[in-house]
Structures are given as C-alpha cells and as structure tokens.
Symmetry: C2
C-alpha cells in the first residue's frame, strides 16, 4: 500500500475545514474519511457523505470489535473513525484525510504511527477571536468559551509533524499540498510505485 | 537553527545538476554547498563559487581536524565538504544543498542524521543511455562504462528519504520544491520560527 494517511487538526476558527475542502477539490487522489456517528442527520446531511449514521447498538458493537481508530463522546453523541473504512480507501489507492481534534490525533498516532499529522494555526489571537465572532451574534461569554477551547486545542501543536499558519488561505493551501506531495515522494512509496522502472535501472 | 540540510544525489545523466540550478534560481533561501578540492581550477571556475581551491597540505589539515563531513579521492584529486562552511550557511538561515554521490551521502547521514536526502532517477535506462551519449562523440565502450557507473549509483536509491523521477523537468523541479517546502513546515522548525506567535496563541 503506497497511499498515505493524513491527520489535519486545528483550533476552531483557524480555517481547517475550508482548507481541507479546497484540497479535496484540487486533488482527486485525496479523500476525506467519513466518520460514524450516533447523532441524527441534520437537514442536508447525507449518509456516507457527511457521516455514516448508526444507532448506539451498532456503534458499541463496532467499538467492542476494535474497529475505531479514534472515537469521542460529545454532547451525548458518539463519533468514531472506522479502521476498516479508512483501510478500504487506502487500499483503493486514495490518500485519506482525517479531520479530527488533538485527542483523536493522539489515538490514531498510537494505532497507526505512519499517519502524517498537520496542525493549522491562525495568524494571531485577535484574528482567531474575530473569526470565532464572525456572525457577531454571540455574547462575549460564548466567544470567551470558544476562545478558551481553541487555546486548549492549540496547546497540542507540538505533537504534530507539520505546522502551517493560515494567514493567507492560498499559502496555507499550498503548504498542505506540498506536505501531501512530499509524502508521496517518500522513497518507501516511490520504490513500490515505480518498482518495475527501478528493476530495469539497477 | 531552523535551516535545513538537503542531500541531492543521482546517476550521472539523470539531470540533477540542472534541477539544483533551477531550484537555486527560484528559491533565494537555498544555497549550494561549495566543496573544497585539491584539483586546479578549470577555465572559468571561481574560488568560493565553484569550489574552494586548496593545496594538499591544507586539505589534509582540515581532514585531520575533522572538518569534512564527507570527502572523496577521485582521479588523484581530493574533494570534501567542510562542516564549518555548511554550518555557517545554515546559521545564516539558508537551507543548504549538498550535491554529492551515494558514498558522500552515506558519510553525511552518519554525522548529520537530520540531513534530508533526495535521489533523482531517470525515466528509463534507454533515456539515461541517450543522455549519457548526448554529444554522440563517445565510443560504445565509454558509454558502457558511464552506464555501469550510473547503475552502481542507482543501486543505492533505497538509502534516500525521497525519490523523484526526472521524466518531465518541470514536474521533478516541483517535486524537489515540495520536499524543501514541506521540510520548512516541520513542526520543530515552525515552532522555533514562529515562537513569538505561538507564545501568544496558547
């Protein structure tokens, strides 16, 4: 298998989701991992696209069978990344992106140490606060709670392989594309990918 | 120090020198390491640009003092890469490229394991033979000797961190640029580079 597994994490407001969306649009060899969740679909959410929607019994069975490489319990709902789903995407030759938080990243790193992790930082605390308050409809208390959660997430930046600063969206996207491209050029991947050529050369 | 040390190796005829030249032209933060040699300057070669030209006594003194991170004896002349010269370039903030063969690469890897090594492969043996015979003025024997040396060099491709195949020059150049860019995004480098920002964020 020569496909790569990438973890992308960030403080809420750093622009991670938009960056991942742009990467997926520009690189057909990259696929987003689709998580399993026990929460109900929201309007417009599609099974297998936004999430795999499962009931609690199914989720627990998958968990007992050790199928989740990371999982979390948030506001009474469960979320998890299925190892078999990720491995099926990798086996089909797609690079897979996990868009998860630092706790999920830590779980995946333990089980799949070959995963390459990228952390997206905002250009400043002021800009982050501005983005977290973009709609201007939330109370100062709500903004403060979001900012505290963002800072807690960013405290784990040192655990990641790569760091990009999303000041210019275009530059941060190019950063992530360079990391993905470089990973494909790793000799282990290239020697498999081009085994026939290399066999004739040496 | 956040600057990076890159090793670029290839079989003669793979296009390494042209790729490095193009990289240097397009990226002012990258500098080529200038080797020391005991051979006489050829017409047009400048001290400190193409080589540091030194006599055998100086070369031997540097070698005894352990200043060479790699050295070789070729056709009666000595060549070496000075650790202090490389470290001065890195300390000035430049990424440094060593354009050396697999034996030099192996020596550098031992002394400076943080060095990132890239191997450039030709797209086929036929194309390599064509490039080695580009001038069409050499005998079949001479070509055969060059091709055998190239194959011996390529046998060491597995020792390198990254591999690019120089089929399209533009694509291979972009490959190397992606590897350089990704290396600059390594969290260890980024955390130093952006220490002030990160201090305010977390």
């Amino acid at each position: 298998m020569t496909a790569n597994l990438f973890i992308i994490s960030a403080a809420s407001g750093a622009g991670k989701t938009s960056l991942v969306h742009a990467l997926l649009q520009q690189d057909p060899a990259v696929r987003l991992s689709v998580s399993h969740t026990t929460r109900a679909p929201r309007p417009g959410e599609q099974e297998g696209v936004h999430y795999h929607f499962v009931n609690v019994t199914t989720f627990q069975r998958m968990q007992e069978e050790g199928d989740f490489i990371e999982s979390a319990h948030v506001h009474g709902n469960r979320y998890g990344t299925s190892r078999s789903a990720v491995e099926a995407q990798l086996a089909a030759g797609f690079d897979v992106i996990l868009e998860i938080d630092w706790q999920g990243a830590a779980q995946v790193r333990k089980l799949l140490p070959q995963a390459v992790s990228i952390f997206v930082l905002p250009p400043s605390l002021e800009e982050l606060a501005r983005r977290l308050n973009d709609r201007g409809q939330d109370s100062a208390d709500v903004i403060a709670i979001r900012l505290a959660a963002a800072r807690e997430e960013m405290r784990h930046v040192t655990e990641f392989d790569y760091v990009t600063i999303n000041d210019s969206f275009a530059v941060a996207l190019e950063d992530i594309q360079a990391i993905v491209r470089a990973q494909r050029l790793r000799s282990q991947a290239q020697l498999k990918q081009h085994a026939a050529l290399i066999g004739t050369l040496v």
